[in-house]
């Protein structure tokens, strides 16, 4: 942190953009995750007949089962999206800023 003071880093446009991009990605993915899970819980708690519908007429499998499994799979995909973004974009930006400020 030799080249810049804390205030200078905080006001640095590149650092500001890093923070806002990271927060945007985190919140968007976080909200998608919340909607996904509480959507599922909404059905479980308040609209049981919806999840109890049969996948195909005459078969026992209810649509609740693929929806539950799908929630698990989509959650994992979301962590994949985040890690892809962080590994390609975020780490690059951090590296650039750290080189510049000599931290």
């Amino acid at each position: 942190m030799a080249k810049m003071s804390k205030e200078e880093i905080l006001n640095d446009p590149e650092f500001k953009s890093l923070v806002s991009q990271k927060n945007t990605i985190s919140w968007i993915l976080g909200i998608v995750q919340l909607v996904l899970f509480y959507g599922f819980i909404y059905w479980v708690a308040l609209d049981k007949p919806f999840l109890a519908k049969k996948m195909t007429e005459g078969k026992a499998m209810t649509i609740g089962i693929p929806i539950a499994v799908g929630t698990i799979l989509v959650s994992w995909v979301l962590t994949g999206i985040y890690i892809w973004w962080a590994n390609t974009k975020y780490d690059e930006m951090v590296k650039k800023i750290r080189e510049r400020i000599g931290g």
Binding site: M1, K6, E7, I9, L10, F15, L18, V19, K22, I25, S26, W27, L29, G30, Q33, L36, F37, Y38, F40, I41, W43, V44, A45, L46, K48, L51, A52, K59, A60, M61, T62, G64, I65, A68, V69, T71, I72, L73, S75, W76, L78, T79, G80, Y82, I83, A86, N87, D91, V94, I97, R98, G103
Partner: protein
Amino acid sequence: MMIQILNDVTMLTAVAQVAAQAAVPTSTIGQLHVTSVTFFLLFVASTLGITYWAAKRTRTTKDFYAAGRSVTGLQNGLALAGDYMSAASFLGIAGLVAMKGYDGLIYSVGWLVGWPIIMFLISEPLRNLGKYTFADVVAFRLKQRPIRAAAAAGSLATVLAYLVAQMVGAGDLFSLMFGLPFELALVLVGALMISYVLFGGMIATTWVQIIKAVLLLGGATILVLLVLNKMDFSYGNLFQQAADKYKTSFLEPGGMYKDPLDTFSLALALMFGTAGLPHILMRFYTVPDAKAARKSVFYATGFIGFFYILTVTIGFGAAVLVGQSAIAKFGAGGNMAAPLLAEVLGGSVFLGFLAAVAFATILAVVAGLTLAGASALSHDLYVGVIRRGEANEKEEVKVAKIATVGLGIAAMFLAVLFKGQNVAFMVGGGAFVIAASANFPALLMSLLWKRFTTMAAVVSMYTGLIVSLVLIVLSPTVYVDIIHKSEKDAVTKSVAAIDGKVKEIDAQIETAKKGMIAPDVLAKLKKKEKAAAEKNNAMALAAVDTSSKDKETLLTSKKAESAKMPVAPVKYKNVGIFSMSAAFLIGILISLLTSEKEAADKFAGVKIREYLGIGAE
């Protein structure tokens, strides 16, 4: 009920004949298996070997708490997954699904969705700001002593609730599998977990966890393949048979939680509890940097998601191929569903293997928990609070080791009290609620909110802890099923006795009525016979009358007796929504009312370190 049992017996027989693996349809569970003992001894021997190896590498506090920060992303992913795939997940979820059907899935989904939240909101700041415990992060810009004291209290409560659930699982498994006493299992598990942590610290704990994660994932995958093999590799067939055997409602929500608020409350605790579990958060310090921390969450989420899909399949498979009443014979909680299924499908050898794996699972998880508890006691409470940060490394490790032994012994005694509870429920309704209320709100607010003050953090943590503990104790599961167990059992017994008497009287009334001579017959009788018959009828009527009166008295006494059933002051089984909101609200309120210039000033430093990792340990 009888028909159900008969069905199960025929089912078991049929399965055994088809599989031609077991000559008799009865389970060999309850006997000591050579295979399980062999597998278990192998596991113990190799983990003790690792502990010996790790002991030589454990010198500093960094080694003891954080494995020298030398764990890779993939290794940590497996270890995190191992921590999470506990007896509660494996035995508990499979049991819940087998006994209650669809509602068991709420646990698998809820326990997974906490991971993305950890990744998006706290994984990087946690790694960049902390050293060994999550209290490091909360205390980073706030006052050390009060924060560490409160965080240690929350951590300990969470760890103990979790530990006890795992120990109960171990005791159940041990006595049911091998017919040996519950208490002996506790002593064995306790002694082994203390050895791992005491001598090998985080290095040994991590490797024990990795080995177990691989064994458990492998064992569960084989079990699922065996189930699907019976179903022609079609999930449609599996669910069809489950619905045919039970009701179609078995595949629909509503088996466990009827009240929407109860369901929602459970969901909240499962999702946010993960982000407040000390033994999980502690693993973020075993990797070298934030990038590796992030990677490990991705791997962990993948492994855990896969595992939960497996356990759900195992649960439905056990309901179909073993049968609910057969499972219930080995404990009403359903914890034995997975081992019983293993026996039906793979014979006693596979049962032995899976029993050993389940036991290893518990061992590894309790070791991680003990280490987290010990670090809260030594790093936060002893060094941070009592010694005001002045203790040297040698002293800190020594205190951590004493704490390890103390915690291990405490957990053994507590486990005896909670014998017989479903372990998934105990973790979901207990440990996760405390974690989501005492630990998570303060951690999140300290990261996100510049105005957050020491006072707010401390009050929020204690509020979350106390409110959750009080509400859990007043909820039906603890208040009725544990505290007032003798009253509950007495009422259930006397009500059942009254029901039995009522049935007898009903039978008497029935016989008396049958003994009466019908009017059309009566009309055809001769005078003398008619008089006798009328006398007989009058007596029968009188008998019916007295019996009916007796019955009425009995029914009144049944009502009075039922009224004696203890009622929990809190009607919800899941209280997370109340305690978590309380912790957040009071934290926000006090932050707005107080101001702490120093904490706000330090926020700049936090931000730089949080996002850029500058100065991270």
